[in-house]
Symmetry: C2
């Protein structure tokens, strides 16, 4: 019989920045006991996923082996790590382990999806550990842009794995535990089989900066603002929200939080003891009555999201009774995530049109939550693993991370979504490939990325839609064909309405068509489509999507 093995299989997160889901297993091939680390979402865009609500990893591999799944571990509460717990947990039904703040938010996700929050088990930091089949897992605190982020120390029969989670090396992150190299050294000392490591900022050449570096610049900016001060950042960046709020108070302003996600995060942080001393805030109702120079709003929407508070304020009207005005200042205490530039630009320009002074993309007021290139090298050196396995990156990040490790004389292995690595041999290597695509939450339905539904929507958006209605009685046309167009120019080259030109051409065809053509649904539809395509291309230069509706009556 084959020997037991230790496997690593990313189902999401190794090939994108988003929807993290990493599987580890131990046992004989096909009989491994499994654990899952993180279960996140990624966000749709108009280019590739119009109309989609959320994107999640395809966890078919785990569903089919749910009886072998011992536990789910969530490293931290960012949506790309915890966002799919509410939707996908019912397909797995394994216990969910997390630290208090993360666990609290995972519980809310489960409850919102209509499930009991009992599946979530709150775990203390290392050296506390969870036994999960052949695995023993501890949460090792590390700094990131959200409180209570943790790496995982995973003890396995084939040796120890260190899974960093998202991290940066920040000794003073403002809220939550700072980077503690002594703690990490102690918890990871001895042989480490593999370091599975965040790759997000591998292209950033300089050491990362501390959240603490922002306190003074932000305080200075807020103190100098003449009218209303409004700032946005990620709702989950509790330390940043706190820094902003404290700057507001120091400048004699009352602070009002706008946006459900932000209030929810602060509440979660207070309830779980992550922060004890969040500055006093007031409600939008109370804020309305204050002179604007005494007011500071901290709002959601740092990525220009259309429904968030920043975009609402950018529309110009009152939002919850509050309204921007000329002379106000708006601070993006954030970085625009690649792909969101247009949305952020829209908000920025809208504020500019109102005469609001916007401060954006200014390093004085934002630091990244991820380890830069030299910080990754520090982590490699500290953990000193037998192999480095990059995760949390697009292919280019993973590959660059491999090259970085190899340049320092370390073994490294590039493992993308769906590739299963065997970590138990002398040399880690890919041994299998499983399907690891994407699943879309579309409205309230889960659909596969390859189902063609979204592809059809993209085709409608690019090409428009022509609907042809033909009625046949005893295989003879009854009346004229009727055409409706959707998303196409009304008139084209001939100057006549497109629908009428199409109707005329189709009518002519039907009049002349032989009975055997009219009798055969497939060939009739093919002929009608050919005529629509040709006429549309000639009239308007578009090849539309076409739906032919043929109704057959018997006389």
């Amino acid at each position: 019989m084959s020997k037991e093995r230790l496997i690593y299989l990313p189902l999401g997160g190794a090939g994108e920045i988003g929807m993290n889901a990493y599987v580890y297993g131990w046992g004989k091939p096909g009989h491994e006991r499994l654990i899952l680390v993180d279960l996140g979402v990624t966000f749709p865009d108009m280019d590739t996923t119009p109309g989609v609500n959320l994107i999640m990893p395809d966890i078919s591999y785990l569903k089919e082996r749910a009886d072998r799944l011992e536990a789910i571990f969530i490293t931290h509460a960012h949506e790309d790590h915890v966002g799919a717990v509410g939707l996908l947990w019912p397909e797995l039904r394994a216990p969910v382990h997390a630290r208090a703040f993360t666990g609290h938010l995972a519980q809310l996700k489960l409850e919102e999806a209509g499930h009991s929050a009992d599946a979530v088990n709150i775990v203390g930091a290392w050296p506390e550990a969870v036994e999960a089949g052949p695995f023993r897992v501890s949460f090792l605190p590390i700094s990131h842009s959200i409180p209570e982020s943790a790496g995982l120390v995973i003890e396995t029969p084939a040796g120890r794995i260190v899974h960093t989670g998202d991290f940066k090396l920040d000794p003073k992150p403002g809220v939550g535990e700072g980077w503690d190299p002594a703690l990490w050294r102690k918890a990871t000392e001895g042989r480490v089989r593999a370091l599975v490591c965040d790759s997000t900022n591998v292209f950033s050449p300089h050491p990362g900066r501390s959240e603490a570096d922002l306190v003074e610049p932000i305080a200075k900016l807020v103190a100098e603002v003449p009218h209303m001060m409004v700032a946005t950042t990620f709702a989950s960046n509790v330390a940043r929200v706190k820094t902003l709020a404290e700057a507001g108070h120091a400048a004699g302003r009352e602070v009002c939080l706008l946006g459900r996600a932000m209030r929810r995060m602060i509440e979660a942080a207070i309830r779980t003891g992550v922060i004890a001393d969040f500055p006093r805030t007031i409600t939008p109702e109370d804020a309305r009555d204050l002179p604007r120079e005494r007011l500071m709003l901290i709002v959601t929407g740092s990525q220009g999201e259309r429904r968030a508070a920043s975009a609402q304020l950018a529309r110009g009207g009152p939002y919850l009774g509050l309204q921007m005005a000329e002379g106000d200042t708006f601070l993006f205490s954030s970085k625009t995530i690649p792909g969101n530039e247009r949305g952020v630009g829209r908000v920025h320009n809208a504020f500019s049109e109102m005469g609001v002074d916007v401060v954006a993309e200014d390093d004085r007021y934002h630091v990244s939550g991820h380890a830069n290139r030299p910080d990754l090298e520090t982590m490699h050196a500290l953990v000193d693993p037998e192999v480095v396995i990059p995760m949390h990156g697009e292919h280019r990040h993973l590959r660059e991370h491999v090259k970085l490790a190899e340049a320092n004389g370390r073994a490294a292995l590039l493992v993308v979504n769906g590739a299963m690595a065997d970590l138990s041999g002398a040399k880690a290597r890919i041994v299998e490939h499983v399907d690891a695509d994407r699943v879309y939450l579309d409205g309230n339905v889960l659909i596969g990325a390859l189902d063609g539904v979204v592809r059809d929507r993209i085709r409608l958006a690019l090409n428009g839609h022509v609907i042809v209605n033909v009625i046949l009685e005893d295989d003879e046309p009854l009346g004229e064909p009727w055409v409706e167009t959707f998303g196409l120019a009304e008139t084209g080259r001939s100057g006549a309405p497109l629908a009428e030109v199409l109707e005329a051409d189709l009518g002519q065809f039907l009049m002349r068509a032989e009975r055997k053509t009219l009798r055969n649904d497939d060939s009739l539809e093919k002929d009608l489509k050919r005529i629509v395509r040709k006429t549309a291309e000639n009239e308007i230069g578009h090849k539309p999507e076409i739906t032919i509706v043929v109704s057959r009556l018997e006389g």
Copy 2:
């Protein structure tokens, strides 16, 4: 009678980076003689303009006054300045003036659109001048990222206007004239009524760098590459293409240009004498036979455009017989324009998957073509105008540029697309507003941005499409309703096919409907749509676009 006035009216470019079109006029209000500076396009995106081919300014204002349009001046040959000449010139039919390289490319645009190239008049540099009604216009050479870029010195009865065009202050731009402050001082000395000035890089705090700074780093990179070298940049950046080609030759490589736009630009530069000494190139056919370490490709597609050479190579198969392989190097000698990050990322990741080493977003291998903040201040000081009018920017850039001028004690005026400024009074001010929206080339049809055609396509992409077919005979349903869905999940909450659930609900309604409902087209359609919306929302959580086709027969 009212007095004569000097007007400035941007129809495009003052509120976006793209589709530049600036009108100047002199005369009594409503009777001004007009000139147009630039006539460019902007490019569509999936977010806001799916399926659109090109975006152009709405020049209705000029069309209605074409008899008063004296001339069109093109400052340089970038698509956002010359791209609409082929499509829109027929609506204006005024002479087009440009320098040789720009004019040659404008002629090609006209010919491709089926018009004579005779409208284009080639003009030498300042002090040569074109008389155009009350205006006297000279082309004043300035450095930019394309050869023969020019500012315009526009002499008017109300004083001189300096229109910078796109520019940077580069004394050594590689190809074409360098920044020559003595020339500019001489040509603009004395009273300048207004400086109409590029705003693109107003947020870039440091002085711009020279094209010449790239020569050594690029040569060094190319010399060190072990296998095939491939580089991309803007096709129109002739100086960069030349620098890349020379680096290739210096490293003992043969150079092959891939992409129609790039070959066309180099040909235009050679034909018009802009470059005399472009390095020898070989054809793709010849390139195939060379060992890859002796080859350098220079290719189009620096913005990840799907049809350009870089994206074709990124697909992995052979393109014109050439194919990327592990160990090759790909250089983006370019910067990603905001909004194109996803496309560029796709190309980058595809190369990464092939084992190609990609160099991207590296300042050593790219400089911007636009003047940075301190360079703008240099230009303001040199020309010393009575008023600074920012152009070529989104609203945020224009506003920041106004603030920059004002901070230095200068008068400045923010003029956006459609706002008409009177420059003849003591103080420049906005006096009128005209419609200045956008026009889309959609297939081969020009449609207005507000026509709703593209909005319908976006709705189809977000919501999908349901088509309902109902036949009534003598106001009674004949058979069952028939439903087709497009871009929607096939099955929803109930587990039954969505189309069947819709058909059942609609069938029930029709069976029970009163004759007066069935008789009235409007109320019947309204009722049917309501049922589709409700059922679809319940089944799949989407509210689709709906087309109801009711056919009425008489028995």
